[in-house]
Amino acid sequence: MAWEKRERGGRYYTRSRREGDRVVREYVGSGPLAELAAEDDRTKRELEEAQREREKEELERMEALAAPIFELSEAAEILAHAHLIAAGYRRHKGEYRRARG
């Protein structure tokens, strides 16, 4: 979204959007209606930005909740594996078998 200066004076409001690989520029206009369109676009952009920020914070919160439990899970796996290996088992294709010798 941008205001373009015209050679004859005055400003012209334009919007750009992507269509496939191309960027298409739409000429909205000038004057009070263009001011309104620009204001509307700015509000939409701000709302989208705030939404992205909320989503990012929410994901970080979820990851923070999950992290200690994932860490515990990994610790438990290491300890269970160590116990079984120490008890004389070996792992073969994901299954434990009594080791020979």
Partner: protein, 182 residues
């Protein structure tokens, strides 16, 4: 047990170092190094109970933090969730569990809590996202949230399998609805 930081939801550096050592020794023992197996046995006897206790403690606190978060500040819901977690612990661990069984039980219970919380969050947010308006959620957000849930669910199922496997190999009778009677 002297866990380094009261209320911490993270394993201490010392515990992490011991775990890394256990992992390395297990790997060498599996590869056939007899000395490594001996050293692993010694380490399992001498220090694993303490490490297990510390990890169980962190797991219990993480489960409680999740329950607190899921309760949304309602003390009644929080108490009900704590009671549910305690009930699950008792049911899954059974009578006189070994320290390793306690840890594996804590892992199952806290992962159950995590998957439940994530499923509820995802379901409520999905309802919002299918509507129109400013509350509509982005596709990438839903995808990332689903990825965390999928990861938790996979770990939860693996935790149940691991506990059953350890019990079977250690000769502990199974507990729960399918336990043999008499």
């Amino acid at each position: 047990m002297p866990e380094d930081r009261s209320g911490a939801l993270e394993l201490s550096e010392e515990t992490k170092d011991r775990l890394a050592e256990l992992r390395s020794l297990s790997k060498r023992a599996e590869a056939g190094e007899k000395e490594a197996r001996k050293e692993l046995r010694r380490m399992v006897r001498s220090s694993s109970e303490e490490v297990i206790g510390r990890a169980s403690d962190v797991g219990r606190r993480a489960g409680q933090t999740l329950a607190r978060s899921a309760s949304g500040g309602d003390p009644l819901v929080e108490e009900a969730l704590f009671a549910k977690l305690d009930y699950m612990r008792a049911q899954i661990a059974g009578d006189d569990p070994t320290p390793l069984e306690v840890l594996l039980t804590e892992r199952v219970v806290s992962l159950w809590m995590l998957t439940t919380v994530l499923e509820v969050l995802l379901a409520s947010q999905y309802r919002r996202s299918v509507g129109e308006g400013p509350e509509r959620l982005s596709q990438s957000y839903i995808m990332q949230q689903s990825r965390i849930l999928e990861s938790a669910t996979r770990r939860y199922l693996a935790a149940i399998r691991e506990l059953a496997r350890v019990r079977k190999l250690q000769g502990t009778p199974p507990v729960g609805a399918n336990a043999p009677r008499g």
